[in-house]
Amino acid sequence: MSFVDIAHLTKRFGGHTAVNEVSFQVPQGSTLALLGPSGCGKTTILRCLAGLETPDGGRIEIGGKTVFDRASATDLMPEKRELGIVFQSYAVWPHMTVAENVAFPLKVRGVGAKERLAKASAMLETVGLKGFENRSATLVSGGQQQRIALARALVHEPRLVLFDEALSNLDAALREHMRLELRLLQERLGFTAIYVTHDQAEAFGLADTVVLMNQGRIETAGPARAVFARPATGFVARFFGLNVLEARMIGPVAGTDQVEVALNEQFTLRGIAGDGLDMTKGKPVLACVRKESVRAGTSPLPGSLPGTIEAVSFQGVAEEYIVAVHGISLRAIQPAAGFRRGDAVHVGMTPEDWIVLP
């Protein structure tokens, strides 16, 4: 049973189409992350959901209620949609105390002063800000403001909560901590959540379903693990940081789901065929492999190829190399092995790690 249902959503700004015929559903109580580079339209979708932008086409249903429908000219005001929202800038009102900020959604709903203070306090305790009620909202840290914004978005028990790059302004450690806490909180309170983020770790950490956007369209959507494990397009592969190399199709390998492709005259390899792949010989295709799946070593292994280290970037536990194999530069990440520029190595890759995409 889907709780949020977006169908053919379109939004234009002048001549630019920010969101182009986007449709997806979010089941009740689950979380969805809208992921993509900046300008891909993910924030616009969120703002259309909240009623802060008026779409140019399509339909939005929240909890069985149509909040926007171009065809029947339905467009509910933001305050009629019964949502919670957390902004990137937190938008904690500087002229109110912490408690006044959190109690605001209750105040506008006519809840009495005593009850709303009790509820605000309880919610503050939930987000770990017990005792902050009477502080000035501007005199707390960024992480605390984020929690205030979160408490405010949850206090009136909305069934859908929207997060617009809500964790981006936090430092790395706090961000990871909040990610886990949000997950726990959501399981406890049972709200449906939609996150907008440009950070894949955040999307995977928070969401059951990931929708990857590109230029106003959905590039790929599905369970977080599936989207990550089998990139659907070259864009997805590049976004997730895979090696994406131009290649020419040689043909399918009989009896397997693999194909053989050529990166250049000398360098041919086998990989798993992606969906919709044209296997005609000579077709241009993309051969993709995760950096972690390219292994450089000192001794030859079955199927390994000779290579040369071109560049080294030390990253602590791991080390990233650029390694040239038959004149093709591949990026590899592996536990620090101490290679230097110019070292001759053996590069091991298995066909299961390569994905060939149209």
């Binding site: 305050e79 009102w93 500087p94 501007t138 929207l162």
Partner: protein, 559 residues
């Protein structure tokens, strides 16, 4: 060695001398007024007493003038706040048609002369022979004779037209730069548009609004021009006109100085309150990382209401007064409406070529405006350098001190300089008027230049010094070119203010040192045609300055 020491000496002494001149310009007339208010002459002997204050406070005319001034200032403040906020909100946050035109149009009154504005509204709404009642009677059959511009509401009306842009300028920035998420968060969490406006938008711009309110109250209450034109003819007393008449024959300088002291004390107190409580509230908490507000779509009814309000304001403050002024200026005899058969350019020929008073006045005004603006900007650069690059310990105090004239009525500063100048060769010279102008208005220039200075990274200067440039070379080759936009803006602003100044001039002029505004006051008792023609000449100067201001600002924004 020798030259480097000299360089360091210049770097310290030049900015400090700019500050010293500023402090002298403020404390001189202030001390003169204090002394004159408590000094009482018994024959040849001078003693100190509070007699002047006692006589002043016991005078029912003082009470009337004070009350009328407070009423006019208070009502003007409330009306200008309402109008200024609404117009700023419409321009900054809605899709009102013609926004970019109104953005300029709403600012024009800021550059016009309130005295001419009041005169124009006399032509428009005098109880007998006003243009608007004539139009209403002739074309609409409505009697408007009950509208009388010579009244306290008349004064409030004209003051409101002229002070609305102050509020507008103060709040349009915060309204534009406010993080839209503040309002969006309120809407999503259940607040209606109106509730969000009252509980989020208004409180967030409140510091800006209160600052504007204070400045509007202090300056509108202290403005001499409008009460002179609209109050004095019917004997309605206001503070500035009362001080003016105390200095006229038979003059009572002691009482005038005491009056001035009362006003000064109030002004300084209010300004300090503003600095203490309002200016300290951080504006930057409402701007920053968020995103710009999207424009609110006005539906048909709201769009019509918005355009009506704009037409009402720009019409009332700019279009109607200018029309009336032109009609009167081109009429042989003004009978309350324009007649083609009595149209003439004679008034212009007279004031521009034939009449000595007006020719002298135009020359004097141009001299004062050009010299004064140039000196004022020079002073401002030195002070701004001190305030942004100098010794940080005394900056706050110096800044507070140098901002004081912002609220001091021109007539009271004029009184101070009159008291100083009375028995010196400066008396009845253009020089003392020039000094008074700079003393009253240099803070405007200092503010503008300081804001620009703050935007210049000191490393730019340090790089020049490290590359081997002396302090003077750095100033000339790096700092001044970077400051240029603000110097142009400050110069034009001072030029405009000086071309139209009346409150200080009226006390300091003598035969031969009249300015355009003074000549209009003198002529107003003789011929409205000459006054209007002179006002048109002044209007042309002001509008040219305004056009230059807009053009240079646009080119800066684009480059």
């Amino acid at each position: 060695m020798e030259t480097s020491r000299q360089g360091r000496w210049l770097q310290v002494v030049l900015p400090a001398s700019g500050v010293a001149v500023g402090v002298l310009l403020i404390t001189g007339p202030f001390l003169a007024t204090v002394l004159r208010s408590i000094a009482v002459w018994d024959g040849e002997a001078v003693r100190l007493s509070l007699d002047n204050f006692i006589r002043l406070l016991g005078d029912p005319r003082f009470a009337t003038a004070a009350l009328n001034t407070l009423i006019a200032g208070g009502c003007t403040t409330v009306l200008a706040m309402t109008l200024g906020f609404t117009l700023a909100w419409l321009v900054a946050r809605t899709d009102m048609p013609g926004r970019s035109w109104f953005e300029t149009g709403n600012l024009i009154p800021f550059f016009l002369s309130p005295y001419v504005g009041a005169l124009s509204w006399i032509y428009l709404l005098a109880p007998h022979g006003g243009l608007l009642p004539w139009v209403a009677r002739t074309y609409l059959g409505i009697k408007l004779d009950w509208l009388n511009i010579y009244s306290i509401p008349g004064v409030i009306w004209v003051l409101t037209l002229f002070y609305t842009p102050y509020v507008y300028l103060f709040v349009i920035g915060p309204l534009r730069q406010m993080d839209a998420a503040f309002e969006d968060a309120a809407r999503v969490h259940g607040a209606s548009f109106g509730y969000t406006m009252r509980h989020i938008t208004l409180p967030l711009v409140l510091p800006a609004l209160l600052s504007a309110a204070l400045i509007v109250f202090v300056t509108s209450a202290g403005l001499f021009d409008v009460p002179l034109a609209l109050g004095s003819p019917r004997g309605i007393r206001f503070m500035p006109t009362e001080i003016f008449s105390l200095v006229q024959y038979p003059s009572d300088f002691g009482r005038a100085a005491a009056f001035g002291m009362v006003v000064l004390t109030l002004t300084v107190l209010l300004t300090m309150l503003q600095r203490r409580f309002i200016a300290n509230r951080r504006f930057d908490t409402i701007t920053g990382k968020g995103y710009r507000p999207r424009l609110i779509h006005l539906r048909r009814g709201a769009r019509i209401a918005a355009l009506t309000l704009e037409a009402f304001y720009v019409g009332g403050a700019v279009v109607l007064p200018t029309m009336a002024l032109l009609m009167v200026a081109f009429s042989k005899l003004w009978m309350g409406h324009f007649m083609w058969k009595s149209a003439t350019t004679g008034n212009f020929e007279y004031v521009l070529t034939k009449y000595d008073l007006t020719r002298t006045a135009i020359g004097n005004s141009l001299f004062l405006a050009v010299t004064g603006a140039t000196l004022g900007v020079g002073l401002a650069v030195l002070q701004a350098y001190y305030l942004t690059r100098g010794n940080p310990r005394r900056r706050g105090l110096v800044d507070a001190l140098l901002s004081l004239p912002l609220g001091i009525p021109g007539i009271i500063l004029g009184l101070g300089f009159l008291i100083i100048g009375l028995r010196t060769p400066l008396y009845s010279t253009l020089t003392i008027i020039l000094i008074a102008y700079i003393a009253r208005f240099f803070p405007f220039a200092t503010r503008t230049v300081t804001a620009m200075f703050l935007a210049i990274n000191p490393e730019l200067e340090q790089s020049a010094r490290a590359s081997g440039a002396s302090w003077l070379q750095t100033m000339r080759l790096v700092v001044l070119p970077l400051l240029k936009p603000s110097l142009v803006a400050a110069w034009l602003m001072l030029f405009v203010i000086f071309i139209r100044e009346l409150g200080a001039t009226i006390l300091l002029y003598a035969q031969g040192t009249e300015t355009i505004s003074v000549a209009m006051v003198i002529l107003s008792e003789r011929s409205s045609g000459y006054v209007a023609a002179l006002a048109v000449v002044q209007l042309v100067m002001l509008l040219l300055a305004f056009a230059t201001f807009r053009l240079t600002r646009t080119s800066i924004a684009q480059g």
